[in-house]
């Protein structure tokens, strides 16, 4: 049996995903967050919590996440936190999955797409304030 160890250059797990899975920049609690939401992926039970600190004029000063999630979901949450920091609520709400995928640079298959999109839907819930904190 050759190549029993999966190669590091696979298409599903890009270097960006590997890196952000090992060393996420925005993982952790955000004390003082005033827009918070949490949701699960019913397919796998993954759970992501997005926490935003939104300034009075509506600019997101900081975003962090916590999650019990796979590499793709974790990397996506980390990228989402990156992308919304410094943006207005409106700009953050306009964020699309293609923006996240462009950063991840991975071939996300249809079966794993929900892993990439969960942080975005949690972000939307945090922004519209409909979710319970």
């Amino acid at each position: 049996m050759t190549g029993a160890t999966p190669s590091a250059s696979s298409g599903l797990y890009s270097d960006v995903i590997r890196d952000r899975w090992r060393r996420p920049r925005h993982r952790g609690e955000l004390p003082g967050a005033n827009a918070v939401a949490e949701d699960v992926n019913p397919l796998c039970g993954d759970r992501v919590r997005m926490m935003l600190a939104v300034a009075p004029e509506g600019r997101i000063t900081e975003a962090r996440f916590l999650g019990d999630s796979c590499a793709i979901c974790t990397a996506s949450a980390d990228v989402v936190a990156d992308l919304v920091s410094g943006r207005s609520r409106g700009e953050a709400a306009a964020l699309d999955v293609s923006d996240v995928l462009a950063v991840l640079q991975a071939e996300i298959r249809p079966t794993r797409m929900r892993c990439a999109t969960l942080p975005l839907s949690v972000l939307a819930q945090a922004l519209d304030g409909s979710a319970k904190p």
């Binding site: 029993a4 999966p6 590091a8 797990y13 796998c44 039970g45 796979c70 590499a71 793709i72």
Partner: protein, 405 residues
């Protein structure tokens, strides 16, 4: 000759190359692959004999009816049911459990109690939640112990004169625990509760004998036991089936109909409204004949060896946790495990890159996941065609995973 050597060439799908490697299919617990005999039987039926059953007078209708009813005889023999009238065809395990929950549900009163277990598949939990909510009944769960077995002392404390139903899995789809059906049925019967057994993970792997188990209902699917999707079996003890009103209405389940009432058909058709899955019944017959030819005891033995090899091999890999009963306790053809630092979905995706198909996630058993303290697990399940070499490949690949992400 080992069972996999005997059977491998019977499964056309095993020729597949996945991600550049020969397919290693360890997901039969979700749905098994099909031997050529099953595919050919269904094709032959569609090409030669298809018509609707029971109400057709013409030749094809008679042939289709005969083939459909032959499947009932095959199931009766396969599960050791005392009579063919006790074999009801459904669309699958979920359908069968839903049907029986609805049917029994109609007889429940406020304050009646339903007992399930902490390790149930959602299919044997949600229907009872719905029934409990609609009827004002109380739903309780038998807890499991650390090793994944049921706490039967706690079960005794849950049983009361109000307990009307005890519903439980024969074999856990996550940790593989084989529950003591005869013992649970005995205790349930002592308080006159009905017993409903989810046999989805048992029927493909264990010799079944309804006369010995003595449960009131036993439910399983064809597609996990080498048969087609879309058909399942609800076995019900005749006396109990006869006492129940049909859960669902339609054609075939009636004798005579007026605008405001109807007279029910005899068993088992009373519980089979509408056109049944006929080709699927033909496929199920072929699957049963295939399993019987191999012999269920031999199948159990083969799968037990693979399960033990996997369980012991995984446990030796640093950073790997194996869930469920210890290796010296008999279990179903299921091994759930976790790799430290890796999410189960990533484990499954990385294994898939090597052509190895395992399942990952909560396995439709979220309360059990919560009990185990995990979001999900990776799960390997086995069938007649799996080989010790495939297990070795799984073990080597898992051993290399921690450096892969």
């Amino acid at each position: 000759m080992r069972l996999d050597e005997l059977t491998r060439s019977d499964f056309p799908i095993l020729q597949r190359i996945v991600n550049g490697r020969p397919l290693v299919y360890f997901d039969s617990g979700a749905s098994s692959q099909k031997p050529r005999a099953v595919l050919e039987a269904m094709n032959r039926y569609y090409e030669r004999s298809h018509a609707n059953v029971h109400r057709s007078i013409h030749t094809l209708g008679e042939e289709a009816t005969e083939l459909y009813e032959l499947a009932r005889d095959a199931v009766q023999r396969f599960i050791g049911a005392p009579s063919r009238e006790e074999v009801v065809f459904t669309r699958g395990t979920t359908d069968g459990l839903g049907l029986i929950a609805e049917t029994i549900g109609r007889t429940l009163r406020r304050g009646d109690e339903i007992v399930v277990t902490e390790l149930e598949h959602h299919s044997n939990l949600i229907p009872w939640q719905l029934v409990a909510r609609d009827r004002g009944a109380v739903l309780k769960a038998i807890p499991i112990r650390e090793d994944g077995t049921l706490d039967l002392d706690a079960f005794d404390r849950l049983l009361t004169p109000r307990t009307r139903v005890v519903a439980f899995a024969h074999v856990s789809n996550v940790v593989g625990t084989i529950n003591p059906v005869i013992e649970i049925v005995r205790r349930a019967r002592a308080v006159n509760a009905l017993t409903v057994v989810d046999g989805a993970q048992a029927a493909p792997h264990l010799r079944l004998d309804m006369s010995a188990l003595e449960c009131d209902f036993y439910v399983f699917s064809a597609h996990k036991m080498l048969g087609p999707t879309g058909i399942g079996v609800l076995y019900g003890r005749r006396a109990v089936l006869e006492s129940l009103e049909p859960g669902r209405g339609g054609s075939e389940m009636i004798k005579e109909v007026w605008i405001d009432r109807a007279q029910w058909n005899d068993l088992p058709w009373r519980f089979e409204p509408g056109t049944p899955p006929i080709a699927e019944a033909v496929g199920l017959t072929a699957a049963i004949e295939y399993l019987e030819k191999l012999g269920m005891d031999r199948i159990s033995e083969h799968e037990r060896a693979l399960t033990r090899q996997t369980q012991e091999g995984l446990a030796r890999i640093p950073g790997v946790t194996v869930y469920g009963p210890p290796a010296n306790v008999e279990r179903g053809a299921v091994v759930s495990f976790a790799v430290e630092g890796l999410h189960p979905h990533d484990v499954a995706a990385l294994l898939d890159e090597e052509g190895i198909a395992v399942r990952a996630g909560h396995h439709c058993a979220m309360p059990l996941m919560r009990r185990l303290g995990v979001v999900g697990t990776s799960r390997a399940t086995f069938s007649v065609f799996n080989s010790p070499d495939e297990v070795s490949l799984l073990l080597t690949t898992v051993a290399g995973l921690r450096s892969a992400l």
